[in-house]
């Protein structure tokens, strides 16, 4: 999976195997380029991704696992910890796999989108590539569309053409004058 130096991407998976294999492929590409890798995920998913990395003959030694769950999730704290970790290690480029599937059902959509907005900001401040994983089987069309909008690096046409403008979305939620 080719990606730019700054990138905020998303992946919609429909099986645990796809989740692990594609996350591992993304991290392995970084390891080959001597990048530092992070997995922000619940322990079960992180274990699956590390095992997939091993199957792909890539060492997980250079991967740092950060726990991610609704219980432990404090948006500002989690993102600040990630940024500190990046700075402390003095690495040039970082790859992060964020397994959002562990929290996508329990977290309100607006909180999830707020988290994604913050991640988008961070990817513009650091040489960082983030891949957010979502279980598409548990997404509605509206949620999937909103997530695409939150990952504009994924899209070739202007995001407003693909998912509508923010202003239009807000206006469409207001009652119409009769």
């Amino acid at each position: 999976m080719e990606s730019a130096r700054h990138a905020h991407l998303c992946l919609f998976f429909s099986s645990s195997r796809a989740q692990a294999n594609q996350a591992a492929a993304f991290l392995a590409e970084g390891l080959r380029a001597n990048e530092r890798g992070f997995i922000a995920a619940a322990s079960l998913a992180a274990g699956r991704i590390l095992a997939a990395l091993e199957r792909a003959s890539a060492s997980g030694d250079q991967i740092t696992v950060l726990p991610l769950s609704v219980k432990s999730l404090d948006r500002d704290h989690a993102l600040a910890a990630l940024a500190r970790s990046v700075k402390r290690r003095g690495v040039e480029t970082v790859r992060v796999v964020g397994d959002m599937s562990g929290i996508q059902g329990a977290l309100a959509q607006r909180h999830l989108l707020s988290l994604e907005t913050e991640l988008q900001r961070i990817t513009r401040s650091f040489p960082i590539r983030v891949l957010c994983l979502y279980d598409v089987r548990r997404l509605s069309g509206i949620q999937a569309s909103a997530l695409l909008r939150a990952h504009p690096d994924m899209l070739r046409p202007p995001v407003d053409i693909v998912t509508g403008s923010s202003a239009a979305r807000l206006r469409s939620q207001r009652p119409r004058k009769r």
Partner: protein, 235 residues
């Protein structure tokens, strides 16, 4: 030198657009270029590129769209009209032609939004540069109409064609299965990419009436929409 002549690759890099877009704009007389050598290759002055960039950015808030087969998603009728109006604005401000396939009430809302956001395009929106057709006679008829539009545009030597289809709106009451829509789109994708001049196509879907998996399936048959493949591997 600030005004060296740039070849088409360098000029495309300056504007961060494709070489196809540059060819389209020069063919339409929107962007000045010089022809050099026996093969009459295009050369561009940097100052002309900068002037074009400024005028184009001011004229079209939609910006330019590279040729390709895109899908988009809306969550209200109003959003659908606005997305379509922006798409058409990009087509018409480039001097191109458009083929709009949607229900009459949708087309009316689109033209209203287009004229409201881009008053300078009022005349173009109601001119022969835009062909409006109903999306309601079935997918086979729709495919034939698009094929015909592409053939006519090529025969006229149209320098660009933008195609819009309100697929959800057009198939909502027709009892069309989702699988049939996917096949229709896959066939169209082949048709578009077999053209000498690939058109710029936007197919809109109502996100309120599809699942996440269907969204991914639609992106799969509109692969130009994504910079990065969005795939789901089999279990």
């Amino acid at each position: 030198m600030a005004d060296d002549l740039l070849d088409i690759k360098a000029a495309a890099a300056v504007l961060k657009v494709s070489e196809t877009s540059l060819r389209r704009w020069t063919n339409a007389g929107l962007l000045k270029c010089y022809r050099v050598g026996g093969r009459r290759e295009r050369r561009f002055r940097r100052s002309d590129l900068m002037a074009f960039l400024e005028s184009h950015a001011m004229h079209s808030t939609a910006g330019s769209l590279d040729a390709g087969h895109y899908c988009g998603f809306y969550t209200s009728d109003r959003m659908r009209a606005q997305q379509t109006a922006r798409f058409l604005a990009a087509a018409l401000s480039e001097g191109g032609e458009a083929f709009v396939s949607a229900q009459p009430r949708v087309r009316k809302a689109v033209v209203r939004d287009l004229v409201s956001e881009h008053p300078g395009l009022r005349e173009a929106a109601t001119s022969s540069r835009v062909t409006y057709v109903d999306f309601g006679a079935g997918l086979a008829a729709q495919y034939a109409a698009i094929e015909d539009a592409l053939r006519r545009a090529a025969a006229r030597g149209a320098h660009s064609l933008h195609v819009f289809g309100d697929v959800s709106g057009g198939t909502a009451d027709a009892g069309v299965s989702f699988d049939a829509v996917i096949k229709f789109e896959a066939d169209l994708d082949k048709l578009y990419h077999s053209q000498r001049e690939v058109p710029t196509v936007l197919c809109l879907y109502d996100a309120r009436h599809i699942t996440g998996e269907q969204t991914v399936a639609l992106l799969g048959v509109h692969p130009d929409t994504l910079r990065v493949p969005l795939t789901t591997m089999p279990a």
